[in-house]
């Protein structure tokens, strides 16, 4: 039962070791990796991940408790890497150990979906020069006044 933010490569083997639990016959892991997307005609080579560590740690812990309560997961581990990650690098690992495979799958899916929505982690694209936001919305056109605020 523990989550962490790390600047170093995530060891999947260590996550599996942390999920050791004799009554848990099923382990499901989700790994998010930096994908070779094309953005604005260029292929992404690396992404920069950052997090608000205090808020992220609290959300991680709350999600883990909920995964245990809702699905009967016995061991949960979430590791999110931050810093500059090249294409192919593992950015996040979610691991669940449970007595049976159905709840292990359900809890892992729950954790990654909720993590993406609720945990303050961001990826931005960084080229050699100024950092550029990824998934940034275009600034709304001025419609006058403060109505759009």
């Amino acid at each position: 039962m523990s989550a962490e933010l790390t600047t170093r490569p995530i060891s999947v083997a260590r996550v599996v070791a942390a999920l050791a639990d004799p009554p848990s016959g099923g382990v499901v892991l989700f790994l998010g990796r930096v994908r070779a997307d094309r953005v604005g005609g260029r292929t992404v080579r690396a992404l920069f991940y950052e997090a608000d560590p205090t808020v992220a740690a609290r959300r991680f812990a709350a999600l883990e408790r909920e995964a245990v309560r809702r699905y009967g997961a016995r061991k949960v581990r979430v590791v999110h890497r931050v810093g500059r990650l090249p294409v192919g690098a593992v950015s996040v690992v979610v691991g669940v150990a449970a007595p049976h495979r159905a709840p292990a799958f359900a809890a892992a899916r729950f954790l990654i979906e909720r993590l993406k929505r609720e945990v303050p982690v961001w990826k931005t694209e960084r080229t050699g020069r100024a950092p550029r936001a990824r998934r940034r919305r275009p600034p709304p056109r001025r419609r006058g006044g403060r109505r759009s605020g």
Binding site: E50, L115, K116, P120, W122, K123, A133, R136, P139, P140
Partner: protein, 85 residues
């Protein structure tokens, strides 16, 4: 005692300001979160559209609305829409 509020800036907010954090002077009686952010957005024009889609954290807890009071020594974090995972 501190007479400033530290504003933590992430992702697009950090990019708009060019720094991950800024210290803003505030009076001892405090200011509203809205006033603090409007003040910052006037100096950094690219920040305004980011603030419109962001959520705000005061001393580690999310605050609703912009009327929350911010006092010297407080820490405010600007959270643009998340994109982790």
């Amino acid at each position: 005692m501190s007479s400033t509020v530290r504003v933590l800036l992430f992702a697009t907010a950090r990019e708009a300001v060019g720094r991950p954090a800024v210290d803003r002077p505030v009076p001892a009686t405090g200011v509203t979160l809205g006033a603090l952010l409007d003040d910052l957005a006037r100096e950094h024009r690219r920040l305004a559209p980011v603030l419109r889609v962001s959520r705000f954290v005061r001393n580690g807890r999310y605050v609703r609305g912009r009327s929350a009071r911010v006092r010297p020594g407080d820490e405010v974090a600007v959270h643009p829409p998340f994109s982790g995972g």
